[in-house]
């Protein structure tokens, strides 16, 4: 099993400094929708200049480099213990190189570890085994704090919103979450919605779904229609970039269904800021490909 630490450092650098193209394209389209001279348009123009500059200078897109969330698909026979060690070492090095801000703060002692490692859970790493001849893939998402703070979880039915245990109810609570978030999660945002599960698995799934490409729709036509409807309806609220007021509040919505207990019906909404940093690397034999 080869040592991939250097390749993972490069992977982290790309994730933190180079915004994926599908996101950038949507942000570019959003600029055009705002009135010339408006605060919203100015905000989007600054965002795009920032994206360009970060890519050119290899500096973090945002100084909050977020919670690093890794999903690793490893071929049968690989050691997850070694892979974990490589990822953790790479993260320390990426922090020394200022691609990442030291972001792990002990919640009880209020102390920053200084190297982005904190206990078993920071960074968060998920492993999944694949066939022995399949490639190794590592996906990484950097989930910022400001947008994480406006995420929400609802237990349906919700009487205040008149939301029952069906897609109509899901629609209502998601719209409520968008209105409550205002611009605080650095709008325009992307919504990851999980329906079902328990409180923990539901939130985890609402982030996992954000690894998909922008515009990728759920296989179920009814759910797919709700995804598009939610994006459109969220944008009628006029919250706009940064909450300045404007046309684009949400650039995409992704919904995923899970199994639930008969007694529970959770809807979890993860809000991802415009700095939607997620990338994938694939290792097959000697070859390493970054998406």
């Amino acid at each position: 099993m080869r040592d991939l630490t250097n390749e993972i450092v490069e992977f982290i650098r790309r994730t933190s400094t180079d915004l994926p193209q599908d996101v950038e394209e949507r942000l570019k389209a959003a600029v055009e929708k705002e009135a010339p001279g408006s605060a919203a348009r100015g905000a989007m123009e600054t965002v795009l200049k920032n994206v360009e500059l970060s890519r050119k200078n290899s500096t973090p897109i945002c100084q909050d480099t977020g919670t690093p969330i890794f999903y690793v698909h490893y071929p049968e026979g690989w050691s997850t213990r070694k892979l974990r060690e490589m990822i953790r070492n790479a993260l320390v090095e990426a922090t020394q190189k200022s691609y990442m801000r030291p972001n792990a703060v002990d919640a009880i002692y209020d102390k920053n570890s200084g190297n982005n490692l904190g206990g078993e859970e920071f960074p968060s790493i998920h492993f999944e085994e694949v066939d022995a001849d399949a490639p190794l893939t590592i996906e990484l998402m950097l989930k910022g704090g400001g947008c994480e703070n406006v995420g929400a979880q609802y237990s349906l039915p919700n009487n205040g919103l008149g939301a029952g245990r069906d897609l109509a109810g899901v629609r209502k609570v998601v719209l409520d979450a968008v209105q409550k978030a205002q611009g605080q999660g650095c709008a325009p945002g992307i919504l990851g919605v999980a329906i079902g599960g328990d409180r923990g698995s539901s939130y985890a799934k609402s982030k996992e779904v954000l690894f998909g490409k922008i515009g990728e729709r759920n296989n179920d036509p009814e759910v797919a229609a709700l995804e598009e409807r939610l994006t459109d309806e969220a944008n009628t609220m006029g919250i706009g970039p940064m909450g300045f007021g404007g046309q684009t509040t949400v650039i995409d919505t992704k919904i995923v269904g899970m199994h639930r207990l008969p007694a529970s019906y959770f809807v979890s909404v993860s809000y991802m800021c415009w700095a939607y940093r997620r990338r994938k690397m694939t290792v097959q034999g000697d070859e390493v490909v970054y998406d």
Binding site: G37, S38, A39, G42, A43, T46, V47, K49, N50, L53, S54, N57, T59, P60, I61, C62, Q63, D64, S98, R101, G144, G146, L161, G162, L167, A168, R171, K172, L175, D176, Q179, Q182, G183, Q184, C186, E233, T236, M237, G238, I239, G240, M242, G243, F244, G245, C273, W274, A275
Partner: protein, 208 residues
């Protein structure tokens, strides 16, 4: 777009209305949680005895902050060993955490503005009317871009608070912001919040 040179006078501040984009140039000081708490306890409420270089820093700040603005920002700074400081990433942080202190700090130092993100509450809005001052909203996440508008780091106070919490004195050029709270009692945040709430009510009433 309106361009403002800092420090700035009361007349210019009174001309500003919510929703207006502005380019800021000149001098400003960064300060967030630790700085606000320290200013409040040591010099405004005086519940803590000044110690170390507190009094010298206070004298320097009184001059620097008069007519200037404070920036809610925890920057990433390079050149810490050589003291040849440079801002690498310097986007705004969430302002509401300073709500308990901001109005008093504004009045005490005659601050003409605060820069941050997410807006602030009723107490600060009141402070903006009395001082007078405004709240400038920077673009959240635009860390590399804003760092580039920082032309010079003129100095730093209270580095013992840590790099993000220290008071950095900087000179900026064409720093893009939007006025979202003005000196006439208007807050863009309240307006957008209530308008979006009305739309939400309509959407909730629609059949699926």
């Amino acid at each position: 777009m309106r361009e403002i040179q800092l420090p700035v006078n009361d007349e210019t501040i009174r001309e500003l209305r919510v929703g207006e984009p502005v380019l800021l140039s000149g001098l400003m000081v960064t300060g967030r949680d630790a700085a606000h708490k320290w200013m409040m306890e040591t010099f405004i409420k005086k519940t803590k005895e000044p110690k170390g270089d507190d009094l010298q820093v206070y004298e320097a700040l009184k001059k620097l902050l008069n007519g200037a603005v404070i920036y809610h920002c925890g920057p990433v700074v390079s050149g810490l060993d050589s003291k040849d400081y440079k801002f690498v990433a310097a986007g705004p942080t969430t302002s509401i955490r300073e709500e308990p202190y901001q109005a008093a700090v504004m009045k005490h130092f005659n601050l003409k503005g605060v820069i941050g993100k997410g807006g602030m509450g009723a107490k600060t809005l009141q402070g903006c009317q009395e001082t007078p001052g405004v709240y400038f909203h920077a673009i959240g996440g635009a860390a590399s871009f804003i760092a580039q508008s920082v032309k010079k780091v003129l100095g730093v106070y209270k580095l013992e608070f840590g790099v993000p919490e220290a008071l950095w004195v900087i000179e900026v050029k064409d720093f893009p912001v939007v006025v979202t709270m003005d000196s006439h009692g208007q807050s863009q945040h309240t307006v957008v919040e209530s308008a979006s709430h009305r739309v939400l009510e309509e959407l909730l009433a629609q059949p699926y």
